[in-house]
């Protein structure tokens, strides 16, 4: 029966090639536009660490006060003093501070020229907290943080460039003019968006080359390559002044396993701020936040407005293509009132009419989906024209997208066909037999 209706559909569609073509093109374009923009949107709005996004938190402390804070919200990063206080209190199960660094990597092995390198200064807990996968070796310990050891973890890609992919654990590498001992090499790891470092970064940059020890980097006075945001009048005469200024530049993260721990950490932040108020460092009431990864991505507005607008406009476009299809299907089906009348008179039930016409619509949808698939593939290869390169490279065609393209095309067309089919099934056989 299925094959018979499919055959009928093909015959009918062949009878009006222009009308059929118009519907197929409309659905193809509508679905392709939606899928191209969706492929970008799903990349930028995804959960970068699904199994832990509810257990990782970014604490915020209002160190600027009502005069300077962000319309009542605390600054987006911590200053050095507050960051250190959080680290020393050690309330969370795991915790890290981090900031981006950009440092030259000096010639070694067969390289004669220095190379560019960028990464993060982090604490040892970073690797366990964020589930960084390792190819060789491992991260470093809290004891090594405390002894301010000169240790570094390289990324798989950077290890490939520097050591040809060999196990480099135990070797030394000169970063920014200082030697670091390599303790681990990660497997390819680049959560998108890069939730852990969004202060002054879009979250879609190149993956990090290395992770150096935070305590060692501070000892070497390694400057941040990221944002440094200050308020009011500041006295700045050197590194130590800067560390003790109100400038925020350090991003803190804590791992909290359950609601109790979250509540406990929240009250710790409150108590810390209250202490600062009593000590006269803050002249305002505690104003703290503790957002998990999902809330943090939302608050930091990680999804670029371009991606949101283009997805919405494309969906609107798809809706218009469907309205168009409803109209054309209506015209096409009603033109065959005579044929329907004959079929009904010869004993076809309404149900069979429904089956026949929905099948025809599904066939249109299928062809629309196939065209849409071609257009989507073409569009994604040209997506660099439409989005910033760092965003465009995230868009890709995979099985899910292929299935979605065909699924959306067929489903949408069948849904659009409900009304025209209903009208077709209402045809009174007697009336049409009489007048034709």
């Amino acid at each position: 029966m299925f094959a018979y209706y499919f055959d009928l559909a093909l015959r009918s569609l062949k009878r009006n090639p222009v009308l059929t073509g118009l519907m197929v093109v409309a659905i193809g374009f509508g679905v392709a536009a939606s899928m191209i923009t969706y492929s970008v949107f799903r990349a930028v709005s995804g959960d970068p660490i699904p199994d832990k996004s509810a257990r990782l938190f970014a604490p915020q402390i209002d160190s600027w006060g009502p005069e300077h804070n962000l319309k009542g919200e605390p600054p987006l990063a911590l200053n050095y003093v507050d960051a250190m206080a959080l680290m020393h209190a050690h309330i969370a199960k795991r915790q890290t501070l981090l900031y981006p660094v950009s440092l030259p990597v000096l010639p070694a092995g067969n390289r004669s020229l220095p190379a560019k390198g960028s990464g993060y200064a982090v604490y040892g807990d970073f690797f366990r907290m964020f589930e960084v996968p390792f190819l060789y070796g491992d991260g470093w310990s809290t004891a090594q943080d405390e002894s301010r050891a000169a240790v570094v973890v390289l990324s798989e890609e950077f290890n490939q460039k520097q050591f040809g992919g060999a196990n480099s654990v135990g070797r030394e590498i000169n970063i920014g003019g200082h030697d670091y001992r390599i303790v681990g090499v990660t497997r390819h790891w680049n959560p998108v968006p890069r939730f852990y470092s969004l202060f002054g970064s879009s979250g879609f940059g190149r993956p990090a080359d290395f992770y150096v020890s935070f305590t060692r980097a501070l000892d070497l006075r390694t400057d941040t390559a990221g944002n440094n945001s200050c308020r009011g009048t500041i006295k700045m005469s050197g590194w130590d002044d800067w560390l003790h200024s109100n400038c925020v530049w350090i991003e803190p993260w804590v791992e909290l396993d359950n609601a109790n721990e979250v509540a406990r950490y929240r009250s710790f932040l409150e108590a810390y701020s209250a202490d600062q108020q009593r000590a006269g460092r803050f002249s305002w009431a505690p104003n703290v936040r503790l957002r998990d990864v999902t809330e943090w991505l939302e608050y930091m507005r990680v999804v670029p407005p371009e991606s949101r607008i283009s997805l919405l406009v494309s969906l609107g476009f798809l809706v218009i293509c469907l309205v168009n299809t409803i109209g054309l299907l209506l015209a096409k089906f009603m033109r065959r009132a005579g044929e329907i009348g004959v079929r009904r008179a010869l004993g076809a039930s309404r149900r069979e009419i429904y089956m026949q016409f929905l099948m025809e619509a599904a066939t249109v949808g299928l062809f629309g989906g196939l065209l849409g698939l071609l257009l989507t593939a073409a569009g994604i290869s040209g997506v660099g024209l439409l989005f910033r390169p760092e965003i465009a490279r995230l868009a890709h065609v995979d099985l899910v997208l292929v299935a979605m393209t065909l699924g959306v095309a067929v489903t949408a067309t069948v849904v659009a066909a409900f009304y025209p089919t209903w009208r077709a099934a209402q045809v009174q056989p007697a009336w049409h037999l009489k007048t034709n």
Binding site: L19, L22, V25, A26, F29, A33, T37, E67, H68, S102, P104, L106, L113, P114, A115, G176, G177, L220, T222, D223, G232, T233, I234, K235, M236, S237, G238, D241, W242, P304, P305, E306, R308, I309, S310, V313, S314, G316, F317, V319, I320, C321, V323, N324, I326, G327, L328, L330, A331, K332, M334, R335, L385, L386, F387, R388, P389, I391, Y419, R423
Partner: protein
């Protein structure tokens, strides 16, 4: 032309009429907003920078190793001497940043040291007396820096200058009466800065939404910024020698000192490339919206052709009868066009409401400004014309239906 019979006919085709009207409404709503987005993006990316873009390029030179501030400063001075000597180079200046870089140093500006709320915000450029000539910006009041005012400044070092050159936009913001020259302001420091020169126009380092309120507000400090990281050199080539100067400069710097990093891909960027990168998301949005508008109008037009053709086909008998009863071809043509116009007007009325609703939603959720009335009116005109154009072919076919048809099948 009587509207009554048209309405009566449309009542018999409620679904088709509603679908065309709906399609016109939705198309209007989307096209209207998309055109507005295109206009916004294009006007954003066509803002002038105020500099001699055609002959400018920027070198990003990172230091390899841990140099002291003194070492960095003398290296910068030797690099500049080498660059300025090149045959294809007109002038060169060191800088912490450059226009359209996408971000960088900006300070809050206050009029008194006690002031809590900022007066405004300005982008900070640190350079020497060569910057104005290098960028090709016009000094409209006051003077350039003197060589003896230029001092080295390490990062986090308290070497705030006492003089600065500001853009006209910043000068007017601080002293709206035009008296800025010689006056002072405070830049997050307890010491005043005196305005010694005013330049006509210079774009900020970033063109993000947050800085829209501070557009073209910059200050130039007579300082060479010496950082562990590296520096930018802004270089102005002699006319027509940009490509040669870009090649020479890279070689000259490497020859000066090999212990540096100039990225092979984007270590030396012409200003055309910088502009391209700065506005890529604006350009992308404009292209995407343009494609969607064009395809949408074609599909809506084709949809109207399809449905009108169907109606014409369905009503051949009635048309024949009308013709037999004395209606001219012109009457039939007019009938179908008027019918289309009626549906079109209904569609655009709903469309206007939708367009405004979408615009309001975008204002709330995705950084958008209010849709100007003339965009709505222009889109209305486009859609009504599209409808008439699309209905014309089927309507002409209708007008050619012979009166004989009336006599056939009854």
């Amino acid at each position: 032309m009587h509207v009554q019979p048209i309405l009566a006919a449309l009542r018999r085709h409620k679904a088709g009429t509603a679908l065309i009207a709906l399609q016109i409404a939705l198309t209007l709503a989307i096209v209207c907003n998309a055109l507005f987005i295109i206009h916004q993006r294009l006007s954003h990316l066509s803002e002038p920078t105020g500099i001699d873009e055609a002959n400018l390029f920027v070198i990003e030179s990172q230091w390899a190793g841990d140099l002291s501030n003194q070492q960095v400063d003398s290296q910068i001075q030797s690099d500049l001497a080498a660059l300025r000597q090149l045959p294809g180079v007109r002038d060169a200046a060191p800088s912490n940043s450059y226009p359209l870089r996408g971000g960088g140093w900006d300070d809050f500006i206050m009029m008194t040291p006690e002031q809590k709320e900022k007066t405004t915000d300005a982008s900070v450029y640190l350079s020497d007396e060569h910057l104005l000539d290098t960028l090709g910006v016009k000094l409209i009041a006051g003077r350039n820096f003197r060589p003896d005012e230029i001092e080295p400044m390490g990062e986090r070092e308290d070497k705030m200058p006492s003089v600065a050159i500001v853009t006209k936009a910043l000068a007017d913001k601080l002293y709206p009466d035009g008296s800025a020259l010689g006056k002072t302001f405070y830049s997050m420091s307890p010491r005043p800065i005196t305005i010694i020169g005013i330049i006509e126009r210079l774009q900020r380092q970033e063109v993000d939404t947050w800085s829209r309120d501070y557009v073209y507000q910059d200050m130039l400090w007579p300082r060479r910024l010496d950082t562990q990281w590296g520096t930018y050199y802004i270089v102005r080539a002699k006319p027509g020698q940009l490509a040669a100067a870009m090649r020479e400069s890279r070689k000259a710097l490497i020859a000066q000192n090999r212990m540096r990093i100039i990225d092979p891909d984007d270590g030396v960027l012409s200003f055309a490339e910088i502009r391209h990168r700065a506005y890529d998301s604006d350009r992308g949005m404009a292209i995407l919206m343009g494609i969607i508008c064009a395809v949408l109008l074609v599909i809506t037009g084709a949809g109207i052709v399809g449905l009108t053709s169907f109606w014409v086909g369905q009503r051949r008998k009635q048309i024949g009868i009308r013709r037999a009863l004395g209606a001219t071809r012109h009457d039939i043509l007019g009938y179908f066009l008027a019918e289309n116009l009626l549906i079109g007007v209904a569609g655009v009325l709903i469309g206007i409401v939708l367009a405004v609703a979408i615009n309001l939603w975008m204002i709330m959720h995705v950084e958008m400004t209010r849709l100007p009335l003339w965009y709505v009116l222009a889109s209305v005109a486009v859609l009504l014309l599209l409808g008439q154009g699309a209905a014309l072919a089927p309507a002409l076919r209708a007008s050619r239906v012979s009166p004989v048809v009336a006599t056939r099948t009854i």
